[in-house]
Protein backbone atom coordinates (compact mmCIF):
# COMPACT_ATOMS: atom_id res chain seq x y z
CA UNK A 1 0.00 0.00 0.00
CA UNK A 2 2.68 2.38 1.03
CA UNK A 3 4.65 1.63 -2.09
CA UNK A 4 2.02 2.95 -4.46
CA UNK A 5 3.95 5.96 -5.67
CA UNK A 6 7.33 4.36 -6.13
CA UNK A 7 7.73 0.66 -6.26
CA UNK A 8 11.45 0.87 -6.83
CA UNK A 9 13.71 1.00 -3.79
CA UNK A 10 14.99 4.52 -3.24
CA UNK A 11 18.68 5.12 -3.80
CA UNK A 12 20.94 5.51 -0.78
CA UNK A 13 21.19 9.26 -1.24
CA UNK A 14 17.45 9.67 -1.50
CA UNK A 15 16.89 7.60 1.57
CA UNK A 16 19.49 9.56 3.54
CA UNK A 17 17.79 12.80 2.56
CA UNK A 18 14.46 11.36 3.54
CA UNK A 19 15.80 10.18 6.84
CA UNK A 20 17.30 13.57 7.58
CA UNK A 21 14.01 15.24 6.78
CA UNK A 22 12.29 13.02 9.27
CA UNK A 23 14.62 13.73 12.18
CA UNK A 24 12.85 15.60 15.01
CA UNK A 25 15.60 18.20 15.15
CA UNK A 26 15.32 19.33 11.56
CA UNK A 27 12.97 22.20 12.31
CA UNK A 28 15.05 23.30 15.23
CA UNK A 29 18.14 23.49 13.04
CA UNK A 30 16.26 25.77 10.68
CA UNK A 31 15.20 27.90 13.65
CA UNK A 32 18.78 28.05 14.92
CA UNK A 33 20.09 29.07 11.53
CA UNK A 34 17.48 31.79 11.24
CA UNK A 35 18.22 33.21 14.67
CA UNK A 36 21.94 33.05 14.03
CA UNK A 37 21.72 34.84 10.72
CA UNK A 38 19.37 37.40 12.19
CA UNK A 39 21.74 38.38 14.97
CA UNK A 40 24.73 38.29 12.65
CA UNK A 41 22.99 41.00 10.71
CA UNK A 42 21.62 43.18 13.50
CA UNK A 43 24.49 42.85 15.98
CA UNK A 44 27.93 43.80 14.74
CA UNK A 45 29.98 42.24 17.53
CA UNK A 46 28.04 39.01 17.26
CA UNK A 47 30.09 37.55 14.45
CA UNK A 48 33.47 38.17 16.09
CA UNK A 49 35.32 35.02 17.01
CA UNK A 50 35.40 35.90 20.69
CA UNK A 51 31.63 36.23 20.78
CA UNK A 52 31.24 32.72 19.47
CA UNK A 53 33.03 31.42 22.55
CA UNK A 54 30.67 33.35 24.81
CA UNK A 55 27.58 32.18 23.00
CA UNK A 56 28.74 28.59 22.99
CA UNK A 57 29.52 28.76 26.68
CA UNK A 58 26.07 30.13 27.45
CA UNK A 59 24.53 27.41 25.29
CA UNK A 60 26.59 24.67 26.86
CA UNK A 61 25.64 25.48 30.45
CA UNK A 62 22.00 25.04 29.50
CA UNK A 63 22.71 22.31 27.00
CA UNK A 64 24.40 19.98 29.48
CA UNK A 65 21.19 19.79 31.44
CA UNK A 66 18.91 19.97 28.41
CA UNK A 67 20.21 16.62 27.19
CA UNK A 68 18.96 14.48 30.09
CA UNK A 69 15.89 16.65 30.46
CA UNK A 70 15.07 15.91 26.82
CA UNK A 71 15.58 12.20 27.43
CA UNK A 72 13.31 12.43 30.44
CA UNK A 73 10.70 14.26 28.42
CA UNK A 74 10.87 11.62 25.69
CA UNK A 75 10.31 9.17 28.52
CA UNK A 76 7.15 11.08 29.38
CA UNK A 77 8.19 12.89 32.55
CA UNK A 78 9.33 16.27 33.84
CA UNK A 79 11.88 17.28 36.38
CA UNK A 80 11.22 20.61 38.03
CA UNK A 81 13.96 19.96 40.55
CA UNK A 82 16.70 19.88 37.92
CA UNK A 83 17.63 23.53 38.42
CA UNK A 84 18.15 23.48 42.15
CA UNK A 85 19.70 20.03 42.02
CA UNK A 86 22.64 21.57 40.21
CA UNK A 87 23.09 23.93 43.12
CA UNK A 88 22.63 21.14 45.66
CA UNK A 89 25.34 19.16 43.94
CA UNK A 90 27.74 22.09 44.05
CA UNK A 91 26.90 22.84 47.67
CA UNK A 92 27.43 19.26 48.80
CA UNK A 93 30.75 19.07 47.05
CA UNK A 94 31.98 22.35 48.46
CA UNK A 95 30.71 21.90 51.98
CA UNK A 96 31.91 18.35 52.30
CA UNK A 97 35.41 19.24 51.18
CA UNK A 98 35.51 22.25 53.44
CA UNK A 99 33.98 20.78 56.56
CA UNK A 100 36.02 17.59 56.38
CA UNK A 101 39.06 19.54 55.21
CA UNK A 102 39.29 16.89 52.55
CA UNK A 103 40.81 16.89 49.10
CA UNK A 104 38.23 18.42 46.78
CA UNK A 105 38.09 15.19 44.78
CA UNK A 106 36.57 13.55 47.83
CA UNK A 107 33.87 16.21 47.88
CA UNK A 108 33.30 15.72 44.17
CA UNK A 109 32.83 11.99 44.72
CA UNK A 110 30.51 12.42 47.67
CA UNK A 111 28.53 14.96 45.69
CA UNK A 112 28.15 12.46 42.85
CA UNK A 113 26.71 9.88 45.21
CA UNK A 114 24.38 12.34 46.91
CA UNK A 115 23.15 13.78 43.63
CA UNK A 116 22.51 10.39 42.09
CA UNK A 117 20.60 9.46 45.24
CA UNK A 118 18.48 12.59 44.83
CA UNK A 119 17.71 11.66 41.25
CA UNK A 120 16.87 8.10 42.19
CA UNK A 121 14.67 9.44 44.99
CA UNK A 122 12.68 11.45 42.45
CA UNK A 123 12.34 8.45 40.20
CA UNK A 124 11.42 5.96 42.89
CA UNK A 125 8.90 8.31 44.45
CA UNK A 126 7.38 8.75 41.01
CA UNK A 127 6.99 5.10 40.17
CA UNK A 128 5.91 4.15 43.68
CA UNK A 129 3.28 6.79 44.24
CA UNK A 130 2.18 7.02 40.60
CA UNK A 131 1.65 10.75 41.12
CA UNK A 132 2.32 13.03 38.15
CA UNK A 133 5.98 13.94 37.88
CA UNK A 134 5.03 17.60 37.95
CA UNK A 135 3.84 17.21 41.54
CA UNK A 136 6.63 14.92 42.69
CA UNK A 137 9.44 17.03 41.33
CA UNK A 138 7.72 20.23 42.38
CA UNK A 139 7.79 18.80 45.89
CA UNK A 140 11.44 17.88 45.65
CA UNK A 141 12.18 21.23 44.02
CA UNK A 142 10.74 23.05 47.01
CA UNK A 143 12.35 20.69 49.47
CA UNK A 144 15.74 20.91 47.81
CA UNK A 145 15.70 24.67 47.64
CA UNK A 146 14.80 24.69 51.33
CA UNK A 147 17.57 22.23 52.08
CA UNK A 148 20.08 24.20 50.04
CA UNK A 149 19.41 27.31 52.04
CA UNK A 150 18.80 25.69 55.42
CA UNK A 151 21.75 23.34 55.38
CA UNK A 152 24.15 25.91 54.01
CA UNK A 153 23.25 28.35 56.74
CA UNK A 154 23.40 25.63 59.34
CA UNK A 155 26.81 24.47 58.23
CA UNK A 156 28.48 27.53 56.82
CA UNK A 157 26.64 30.13 58.86
CA UNK A 158 25.94 32.20 55.73
CA UNK A 159 23.95 31.76 52.56
CA UNK A 160 27.00 30.93 50.51
CA UNK A 161 29.72 28.36 50.87
CA UNK A 162 33.23 29.05 52.04
CA UNK A 163 36.21 29.57 49.85
CA UNK A 164 37.72 26.27 48.77
CA UNK A 165 40.06 27.63 46.10
CA UNK A 166 43.08 27.09 48.33
CA UNK A 167 42.34 23.45 49.05
CA UNK A 168 44.15 20.45 47.69
CA UNK A 169 42.71 19.01 44.55
CA UNK A 170 41.05 22.24 43.50
CA UNK A 171 43.31 22.92 40.51
CA UNK A 172 42.82 19.47 39.01
CA UNK A 173 39.08 19.56 39.62
CA UNK A 174 39.02 22.90 37.95
CA UNK A 175 40.83 21.47 34.98
CA UNK A 176 38.17 18.86 34.57
CA UNK A 177 35.08 20.93 35.19
CA UNK A 178 35.90 24.56 34.56
CA UNK A 179 38.98 24.98 32.42
CA UNK A 180 39.05 26.81 29.16
CA UNK A 181 41.47 26.99 26.32
CA UNK A 182 42.05 29.27 23.43
CA UNK A 183 41.91 28.38 19.76
CA UNK A 184 42.88 31.34 17.69
CA UNK A 185 41.02 34.17 19.30
CA UNK A 186 38.16 32.00 20.48
CA UNK A 187 38.11 31.16 24.13
CA UNK A 188 36.37 27.83 24.58
CA UNK A 189 35.15 26.47 27.90
CA UNK A 190 35.45 22.82 28.78
CA UNK A 191 31.67 22.71 29.32
CA UNK A 192 31.33 22.76 25.55
CA UNK A 193 33.17 19.44 25.40
CA UNK A 194 31.04 17.98 28.16
CA UNK A 195 27.99 19.14 26.28
CA UNK A 196 28.99 17.62 22.97
CA UNK A 197 30.04 14.41 24.68
CA UNK A 198 26.70 14.11 26.41
CA UNK A 199 24.82 14.75 23.18
CA UNK A 200 26.76 12.02 21.42
CA UNK A 201 26.27 9.51 24.23
CA UNK A 202 22.59 10.34 24.61
CA UNK A 203 22.02 10.03 20.86
CA UNK A 204 23.74 6.68 20.85
CA UNK A 205 21.69 5.48 23.78
CA UNK A 206 18.43 6.72 22.30
CA UNK A 207 18.87 5.33 18.82
CA UNK A 208 21.11 2.35 19.20
CA UNK A 209 20.48 0.67 22.53
CA UNK A 210 17.66 -1.20 24.18
CA UNK A 211 17.46 1.46 26.86
CA UNK A 212 16.75 4.01 24.13
CA UNK A 213 13.92 1.93 22.77
CA UNK A 214 12.50 1.66 26.25
CA UNK A 215 12.71 5.40 26.80
CA UNK A 216 10.68 6.09 23.68
CA UNK A 217 8.17 3.42 24.63
CA UNK A 218 7.88 4.53 28.25
CA UNK A 219 6.94 7.98 27.04
CA UNK A 220 4.93 7.01 24.00
CA UNK A 221 2.63 4.45 25.57
CA UNK A 222 3.64 3.19 29.01
CA UNK A 223 0.79 0.68 29.12
CA UNK A 224 1.82 -0.90 25.87
CA UNK A 225 5.45 -0.88 26.90
CA UNK A 226 4.67 -2.58 30.18
CA UNK A 227 2.56 -5.15 28.41
CA UNK A 228 5.46 -6.26 26.24
CA UNK A 229 7.75 -6.48 29.21
CA UNK A 230 9.62 -3.19 29.08
CA UNK A 231 10.74 -2.30 32.61
CA UNK A 232 9.05 1.09 32.50
CA UNK A 233 9.58 1.89 36.17
CA UNK A 234 13.26 1.06 35.98
CA UNK A 235 13.64 3.12 32.82
CA UNK A 236 12.10 6.15 34.49
CA UNK A 237 14.24 5.84 37.58
CA UNK A 238 17.22 5.56 35.27
CA UNK A 239 16.21 8.74 33.47
CA UNK A 240 15.95 10.67 36.72
CA UNK A 241 19.36 9.37 37.66
CA UNK A 242 20.70 10.59 34.33
CA UNK A 243 19.31 14.04 35.08
CA UNK A 244 21.04 13.87 38.45
CA UNK A 245 24.31 12.86 36.82
CA UNK A 246 24.26 15.87 34.53
CA UNK A 247 23.20 18.06 37.44
CA UNK A 248 26.34 16.85 39.13
CA UNK A 249 28.48 17.87 36.16
CA UNK A 250 26.84 21.29 36.01
CA UNK A 251 27.14 21.66 39.76
CA UNK A 252 30.83 20.88 39.75
CA UNK A 253 31.30 23.36 36.93
CA UNK A 254 29.51 25.97 38.99
CA UNK A 255 31.65 25.25 42.01
CA UNK A 256 35.03 25.08 40.36
CA UNK A 257 34.45 27.98 38.10
CA UNK A 258 33.15 30.37 40.74
CA UNK A 259 34.78 28.83 43.82
CA UNK A 260 31.92 29.98 46.05
CA UNK A 261 28.34 28.81 45.60
CA UNK A 262 25.26 30.82 46.52
CA UNK A 263 22.65 28.58 48.07
CA UNK A 264 19.76 30.37 46.33
CA UNK A 265 20.96 29.70 42.83
CA UNK A 266 19.47 27.45 40.23
CA UNK A 267 15.83 28.32 40.85
CA UNK A 268 14.04 28.76 37.56
CA UNK A 269 16.73 27.18 35.43
CA UNK A 270 14.73 23.97 35.16
CA UNK A 271 12.48 25.83 32.76
CA UNK A 272 15.37 26.85 30.57
CA UNK A 273 16.23 23.17 30.20
CA UNK A 274 12.67 22.30 29.36
CA UNK A 275 12.46 25.18 26.92
CA UNK A 276 15.61 23.99 25.17
CA UNK A 277 14.23 20.47 24.91
CA UNK A 278 10.86 21.62 23.60
CA UNK A 279 12.31 24.06 21.09
CA UNK A 280 14.50 21.20 19.97
CA UNK A 281 11.46 19.19 19.00
CA UNK A 282 10.66 17.10 22.09
CA UNK A 283 6.97 16.49 22.64
CA UNK A 284 5.72 17.57 26.06
CA UNK A 285 3.56 14.47 26.09
CA UNK A 286 6.49 12.14 25.65
CA UNK A 287 7.54 9.58 23.10
CA UNK A 288 9.16 11.90 20.59
CA UNK A 289 12.32 13.99 20.49
CA UNK A 290 16.08 13.81 20.29
CA UNK A 291 19.24 14.74 22.14
CA UNK A 292 20.61 16.66 19.19
CA UNK A 293 17.38 18.64 19.16
CA UNK A 294 17.88 19.63 22.77
CA UNK A 295 21.36 20.83 21.88
CA UNK A 296 20.00 22.90 19.03
CA UNK A 297 17.33 24.23 21.38
CA UNK A 298 19.98 25.22 23.90
CA UNK A 299 21.92 26.87 21.12
CA UNK A 300 18.87 28.83 19.98
CA UNK A 301 18.36 29.98 23.53
CA UNK A 302 22.03 30.86 23.93
CA UNK A 303 22.17 32.79 20.66
CA UNK A 304 18.95 34.64 21.37
CA UNK A 305 19.68 35.65 24.94
CA UNK A 306 23.22 36.75 24.15
CA UNK A 307 22.36 38.12 20.74
CA UNK A 308 20.00 40.60 22.33
CA UNK A 309 22.86 41.80 24.51
CA UNK A 310 25.22 42.08 21.53
CA UNK A 311 22.59 43.97 19.63
CA UNK A 312 22.42 46.36 22.59
CA UNK A 313 18.69 46.63 22.45
CA UNK A 314 16.94 48.44 25.26
CA UNK A 315 17.52 46.12 28.22
CA UNK A 316 14.11 46.89 29.72
CA UNK A 317 12.63 44.96 26.82
CA UNK A 318 15.02 42.08 27.10
CA UNK A 319 12.46 39.44 28.05
CA UNK A 320 10.05 40.77 25.47
CA UNK A 321 12.56 40.21 22.71
CA UNK A 322 13.51 36.86 24.20
CA UNK A 323 9.92 35.69 24.21
CA UNK A 324 9.27 36.95 20.71
CA UNK A 325 12.40 35.35 19.30
CA UNK A 326 11.65 32.03 20.97
CA UNK A 327 8.13 32.03 19.62
CA UNK A 328 9.32 32.87 16.13
CA UNK A 329 12.07 30.26 16.20
CA UNK A 330 9.62 27.60 17.34
CA UNK A 331 7.09 28.64 14.76
CA UNK A 332 9.65 28.39 12.00
CA UNK A 333 10.77 25.08 13.46
CA UNK A 334 7.27 23.64 13.37
CA UNK A 335 6.57 25.07 9.96
CA UNK A 336 9.68 23.46 8.51
CA UNK A 337 8.97 20.16 10.20
CA UNK A 338 5.41 20.01 8.93
CA UNK A 339 6.62 20.88 5.48
CA UNK A 340 9.15 18.10 5.65
CA UNK A 341 6.57 15.63 6.86
CA UNK A 342 4.10 16.54 4.15
CA UNK A 343 6.75 16.43 1.48
CA UNK A 344 8.55 13.23 2.23
Amino acid sequence: MTALTADVEPTAAQSLARRLLRRPELGAVAGAAAVFVFFSVVADPFLRAASLGTVLYASSTIGIMAVPVALLMIGGEFDLSAGVMVTSSALVSSMFSYQMTANTWVGVGVSLLVTLALGAFNGILLVRTKLPSFIITLGTFLMLSGLNLGLTKLISGTVSTKHIGDMQGFPTCRDLFASHWTIGSVDLQVTILWWLGLVVVATWVLLRTRAGNWIFAAGGNPEAARAVGVPVARTKVGLYTAVAFCAWISGQHLLFSFDVVQSGEGVGNEFLYIIAAVIGGCLMTGGYGSAVGSAVGAFIFGVTSKGIVYAQWNPDWFTFFLGAMLLLATLLNTFVRRRAEAGR
Partner: protein, 285 residues
Protein backbone atom coordinates in the same frame (compact mmCIF):
# COMPACT_ATOMS: atom_id res chain seq x y z
CA UNK B 1 -3.87 -32.57 15.58
CA UNK B 2 -3.59 -36.27 15.40
CA UNK B 3 -1.14 -36.20 18.26
CA UNK B 4 -3.54 -34.29 20.50
CA UNK B 5 -6.40 -36.55 19.72
CA UNK B 6 -4.60 -39.13 21.74
CA UNK B 7 -3.42 -37.23 24.77
CA UNK B 8 -6.14 -34.65 25.23
CA UNK B 9 -8.35 -36.77 27.45
CA UNK B 10 -5.60 -38.00 29.78
CA UNK B 11 -3.32 -34.94 29.96
CA UNK B 12 -0.22 -36.81 30.96
CA UNK B 13 2.03 -33.75 31.41
CA UNK B 14 -0.63 -31.54 32.96
CA UNK B 15 -1.68 -28.15 31.66
CA UNK B 16 0.86 -25.40 30.91
CA UNK B 17 -1.41 -22.76 32.39
CA UNK B 18 -4.35 -23.50 34.62
CA UNK B 19 -6.82 -21.13 36.23
CA UNK B 20 -9.30 -22.42 38.70
CA UNK B 21 -12.03 -20.54 40.49
CA UNK B 22 -10.51 -17.18 39.51
CA UNK B 23 -12.45 -14.00 40.30
CA UNK B 24 -11.68 -10.38 39.62
CA UNK B 25 -13.53 -7.20 40.54
CA UNK B 26 -12.96 -3.63 39.36
CA UNK B 27 -14.22 -1.61 42.28
CA UNK B 28 -17.68 -3.06 42.81
CA UNK B 29 -17.95 -4.33 39.23
CA UNK B 30 -17.39 -8.06 39.40
CA UNK B 31 -15.87 -8.70 36.00
CA UNK B 32 -14.97 -12.36 36.53
CA UNK B 33 -16.48 -14.86 38.92
CA UNK B 34 -15.14 -18.32 39.54
CA UNK B 35 -13.67 -19.01 36.14
CA UNK B 36 -11.54 -22.06 35.39
CA UNK B 37 -9.51 -22.75 32.28
CA UNK B 38 -6.69 -25.03 31.18
CA UNK B 39 -4.14 -24.40 28.47
CA UNK B 40 -2.23 -27.43 27.25
CA UNK B 41 0.85 -27.62 25.12
CA UNK B 42 -0.09 -28.20 21.51
CA UNK B 43 -3.68 -27.14 22.04
CA UNK B 44 -5.80 -24.09 21.35
CA UNK B 45 -8.14 -23.00 24.11
CA UNK B 46 -10.83 -20.66 22.81
CA UNK B 47 -12.60 -18.19 25.08
CA UNK B 48 -15.97 -17.09 23.77
CA UNK B 49 -18.60 -14.73 25.08
CA UNK B 50 -20.63 -11.61 24.58
CA UNK B 51 -19.31 -8.09 24.87
CA UNK B 52 -18.42 -7.32 28.45
CA UNK B 53 -18.46 -10.98 29.37
CA UNK B 54 -15.00 -10.66 30.90
CA UNK B 55 -12.85 -12.16 28.17
CA UNK B 56 -10.29 -9.38 28.11
CA UNK B 57 -10.23 -9.37 31.89
CA UNK B 58 -9.37 -13.05 31.86
CA UNK B 59 -6.59 -12.41 29.36
CA UNK B 60 -5.24 -9.58 31.43
CA UNK B 61 -4.99 -11.86 34.44
CA UNK B 62 -3.13 -14.48 32.44
CA UNK B 63 -0.84 -11.82 30.97
CA UNK B 64 -0.06 -10.30 34.36
CA UNK B 65 -1.62 -6.91 33.62
CA UNK B 66 -3.98 -7.26 36.60
CA UNK B 67 -3.52 -9.73 39.46
CA UNK B 68 -6.51 -11.94 40.24
CA UNK B 69 -8.51 -11.39 43.40
CA UNK B 70 -9.16 -15.00 44.37
CA UNK B 71 -8.79 -18.50 42.98
CA UNK B 72 -5.56 -20.10 41.83
CA UNK B 73 -3.45 -19.53 38.77
CA UNK B 74 -0.72 -22.06 38.09
CA UNK B 75 1.95 -22.08 35.42
CA UNK B 76 3.37 -25.55 34.81
CA UNK B 77 1.95 -26.64 38.12
CA UNK B 78 3.40 -23.82 40.23
CA UNK B 79 0.94 -21.29 41.67
CA UNK B 80 1.79 -17.78 40.53
CA UNK B 81 0.47 -14.29 40.98
CA UNK B 82 1.99 -12.12 38.33
CA UNK B 83 2.67 -8.59 39.47
CA UNK B 84 3.64 -7.38 36.00
CA UNK B 85 3.52 -8.45 32.36
CA UNK B 86 7.28 -8.92 32.60
CA UNK B 87 6.77 -11.80 35.04
CA UNK B 88 4.24 -13.44 32.77
CA UNK B 89 6.64 -13.05 29.86
CA UNK B 90 9.38 -14.61 31.93
CA UNK B 91 7.05 -17.54 32.45
CA UNK B 92 6.81 -17.82 28.70
CA UNK B 93 3.42 -16.18 28.23
CA UNK B 94 3.22 -13.78 25.28
CA UNK B 95 0.05 -11.76 24.79
CA UNK B 96 -1.57 -9.63 22.10
CA UNK B 97 -4.09 -7.33 23.74
CA UNK B 98 -7.28 -6.12 22.20
CA UNK B 99 -6.42 -2.48 22.74
CA UNK B 100 -3.33 -2.86 20.56
CA UNK B 101 -0.20 -2.71 22.60
CA UNK B 102 1.79 -0.49 20.27
CA UNK B 103 3.57 2.83 20.80
CA UNK B 104 2.07 5.08 18.12
CA UNK B 105 5.00 7.44 17.59
CA UNK B 106 7.65 4.75 17.36
CA UNK B 107 8.72 3.31 14.01
CA UNK B 108 7.22 -0.02 13.05
CA UNK B 109 10.44 -1.98 13.50
CA UNK B 110 11.08 -0.61 16.96
CA UNK B 111 7.57 -1.51 17.97
CA UNK B 112 8.03 -4.97 16.58
CA UNK B 113 11.00 -5.71 18.79
CA UNK B 114 9.96 -3.67 21.79
CA UNK B 115 10.91 -5.39 25.00
CA UNK B 116 12.92 -8.11 23.24
CA UNK B 117 15.45 -6.17 21.22
CA UNK B 118 18.25 -8.17 19.66
CA UNK B 119 21.69 -6.72 20.38
CA UNK B 120 25.14 -7.22 18.97
CA UNK B 121 28.60 -6.20 20.08
CA UNK B 122 29.73 -6.27 23.67
CA UNK B 123 30.51 -4.00 26.59
CA UNK B 124 29.84 -0.35 25.90
CA UNK B 125 29.53 -1.16 22.20
CA UNK B 126 26.55 -3.42 22.77
CA UNK B 127 23.98 -2.03 20.45
CA UNK B 128 20.75 -2.80 18.71
CA UNK B 129 21.10 -4.97 15.69
CA UNK B 130 19.21 -2.48 13.58
CA UNK B 131 19.69 -4.14 10.20
CA UNK B 132 18.32 -7.45 11.46
CA UNK B 133 15.47 -5.69 13.20
CA UNK B 134 14.38 -3.88 10.08
CA UNK B 135 14.73 -6.89 7.84
CA UNK B 136 12.92 -9.21 10.24
CA UNK B 137 10.07 -6.77 10.65
CA UNK B 138 9.72 -6.40 6.94
CA UNK B 139 9.63 -10.09 6.23
CA UNK B 140 7.39 -10.90 9.18
CA UNK B 141 4.85 -8.39 7.91
CA UNK B 142 5.22 -9.48 4.32
CA UNK B 143 4.08 -12.89 5.43
CA UNK B 144 0.80 -11.23 6.45
CA UNK B 145 0.57 -9.70 3.03
CA UNK B 146 1.51 -6.28 4.35
CA UNK B 147 4.17 -4.74 2.19
CA UNK B 148 5.67 -1.81 4.06
CA UNK B 149 8.26 -0.09 1.98
CA UNK B 150 9.16 1.95 4.97
CA UNK B 151 9.43 0.16 8.30
CA UNK B 152 10.60 3.49 9.70
CA UNK B 153 7.19 5.10 9.56
CA UNK B 154 5.53 5.61 12.94
CA UNK B 155 3.22 2.71 13.63
CA UNK B 156 0.46 5.19 14.42
CA UNK B 157 0.17 5.95 10.72
CA UNK B 158 -0.69 2.35 9.85
CA UNK B 159 -4.29 1.29 9.40
CA UNK B 160 -6.08 -0.39 12.29
CA UNK B 161 -5.65 -3.82 10.78
CA UNK B 162 -2.02 -3.29 9.90
CA UNK B 163 -1.29 -2.30 13.49
CA UNK B 164 -3.03 -5.42 14.71
CA UNK B 165 -0.95 -7.49 12.31
CA UNK B 166 2.27 -6.04 13.68
CA UNK B 167 1.20 -6.89 17.22
CA UNK B 168 0.28 -10.43 16.24
CA UNK B 169 3.38 -10.95 14.13
CA UNK B 170 5.43 -9.82 17.10
CA UNK B 171 3.77 -12.18 19.54
CA UNK B 172 4.12 -15.04 17.08
CA UNK B 173 7.74 -14.17 16.43
CA UNK B 174 8.61 -14.18 20.11
CA UNK B 175 5.91 -16.68 20.99
CA UNK B 176 7.25 -18.45 23.99
CA UNK B 177 5.32 -21.42 25.41
CA UNK B 178 1.92 -19.85 25.68
CA UNK B 179 0.47 -17.47 23.12
CA UNK B 180 -2.52 -15.39 24.20
CA UNK B 181 -4.52 -13.57 21.52
CA UNK B 182 -7.43 -11.27 22.36
CA UNK B 183 -9.72 -11.00 19.33
CA UNK B 184 -6.85 -11.06 16.88
CA UNK B 185 -9.01 -11.35 13.80
CA UNK B 186 -11.56 -8.71 14.72
CA UNK B 187 -10.08 -5.87 12.70
CA UNK B 188 -8.62 -8.07 10.00
CA UNK B 189 -9.62 -8.65 6.45
CA UNK B 190 -10.27 -12.05 4.98
CA UNK B 191 -6.70 -12.63 3.91
CA UNK B 192 -5.15 -11.46 7.16
CA UNK B 193 -7.64 -13.42 9.25
CA UNK B 194 -6.71 -16.55 7.41
CA UNK B 195 -3.08 -15.75 7.98
CA UNK B 196 -3.57 -15.36 11.70
CA UNK B 197 -5.44 -18.61 11.95
CA UNK B 198 -2.65 -20.29 10.02
CA UNK B 199 -0.18 -18.90 12.54
CA UNK B 200 -2.29 -20.11 15.39
CA UNK B 201 -2.39 -23.56 13.88
CA UNK B 202 1.34 -23.49 13.27
CA UNK B 203 2.04 -22.41 16.82
CA UNK B 204 -0.18 -25.13 18.15
CA UNK B 205 1.57 -27.69 15.99
CA UNK B 206 4.90 -26.44 17.23
CA UNK B 207 3.77 -27.46 20.70
CA UNK B 208 2.74 -24.09 22.09
CA UNK B 209 -0.35 -23.61 24.16
CA UNK B 210 -2.61 -20.99 22.61
CA UNK B 211 -5.45 -18.99 24.16
CA UNK B 212 -7.65 -17.49 21.48
CA UNK B 213 -10.44 -15.04 22.05
CA UNK B 214 -12.81 -14.45 19.21
CA UNK B 215 -16.39 -13.57 18.46
CA UNK B 216 -16.36 -15.67 15.38
CA UNK B 217 -17.46 -19.25 16.20
CA UNK B 218 -16.23 -20.41 12.81
CA UNK B 219 -12.76 -19.18 13.49
CA UNK B 220 -12.88 -20.67 16.94
CA UNK B 221 -14.13 -24.03 15.78
CA UNK B 222 -11.58 -24.21 13.00
CA UNK B 223 -8.52 -24.14 15.23
CA UNK B 224 -9.80 -24.66 18.77
CA UNK B 225 -9.48 -27.77 20.91
CA UNK B 226 -11.24 -26.52 24.02
CA UNK B 227 -13.96 -23.93 24.29
CA UNK B 228 -14.66 -21.89 27.39
CA UNK B 229 -17.86 -19.87 27.33
CA UNK B 230 -18.22 -16.79 29.50
CA UNK B 231 -21.46 -15.04 30.28
CA UNK B 232 -21.66 -11.92 32.39
CA UNK B 233 -18.40 -12.79 34.11
CA UNK B 234 -19.20 -16.38 34.94
CA UNK B 235 -18.45 -19.64 33.15
CA UNK B 236 -21.34 -20.70 30.98
CA UNK B 237 -19.72 -23.84 29.74
CA UNK B 238 -16.46 -25.60 28.94
CA UNK B 239 -16.20 -28.12 26.16
CA UNK B 240 -13.71 -30.23 24.32
CA UNK B 241 -13.97 -30.06 20.57
CA UNK B 242 -15.13 -33.64 20.29
CA UNK B 243 -18.05 -32.93 22.61
CA UNK B 244 -19.60 -30.10 20.65
CA UNK B 245 -20.58 -29.23 17.10
CA UNK B 246 -20.13 -25.90 15.38
CA UNK B 247 -23.84 -25.35 15.43
CA UNK B 248 -24.17 -26.01 19.13
CA UNK B 249 -21.23 -23.74 19.82
CA UNK B 250 -22.69 -20.92 17.75
CA UNK B 251 -25.98 -21.36 19.52
CA UNK B 252 -24.41 -21.36 22.99
CA UNK B 253 -22.28 -18.31 22.23
CA UNK B 254 -25.20 -16.15 21.35
CA UNK B 255 -27.52 -17.31 24.11
CA UNK B 256 -29.84 -19.75 22.40
CA UNK B 257 -33.34 -18.40 22.10
CA UNK B 258 -32.27 -14.75 22.00
CA UNK B 259 -30.44 -15.54 18.83
CA UNK B 260 -33.35 -17.19 17.19
CA UNK B 261 -35.49 -14.21 17.82
CA UNK B 262 -32.89 -11.90 16.34
CA UNK B 263 -32.21 -14.00 13.29
CA UNK B 264 -35.87 -14.07 12.72
CA UNK B 265 -36.20 -10.33 12.98
CA UNK B 266 -33.24 -9.56 10.80
CA UNK B 267 -34.24 -11.88 8.06
CA UNK B 268 -37.71 -10.40 8.16
CA UNK B 269 -36.75 -6.78 7.79
CA UNK B 270 -35.11 -6.86 4.35
CA UNK B 271 -38.11 -8.85 3.34
CA UNK B 272 -37.82 -9.76 -0.27
CA UNK B 273 -34.10 -10.44 -0.64
CA UNK B 274 -33.20 -13.98 -1.37
CA UNK B 275 -29.72 -14.50 -0.02
CA UNK B 276 -30.62 -13.50 3.51
CA UNK B 277 -32.62 -16.59 4.21
CA UNK B 278 -30.00 -18.72 2.57
CA UNK B 279 -27.17 -17.37 4.72
CA UNK B 280 -28.95 -17.50 8.03
CA UNK B 281 -26.09 -19.14 9.89
CA UNK B 282 -23.69 -16.46 8.71
CA UNK B 283 -25.95 -13.70 9.89
CA UNK B 284 -24.81 -14.54 13.33
CA UNK B 285 -21.15 -14.95 12.44
Amino acid sequence: MTAQDQNTPEEPQGPLVALSGVSKAYGNVLALRDVSLDVHAGEVTCVLGDNGAGKSTLIKIIAGVHPHDSGTYTVAGTPVRHASPREALDHGIATVHQDLAVVPLMPVWRNFFLGSEPVKGRGPLRRLDVATMRATTRTALLRFGIDLRDVDQPIGTLSGGERQCVAIARAVHFGAQVLVLDEPTAALGVRQSGMVLRYVAAARDAGLGVVLITHNPHHAYLVGDRFVLLKRGAMAGSHLKKDITLDALTRQMSGGSELDELTHELSRTPAATGPVAATDPETTA
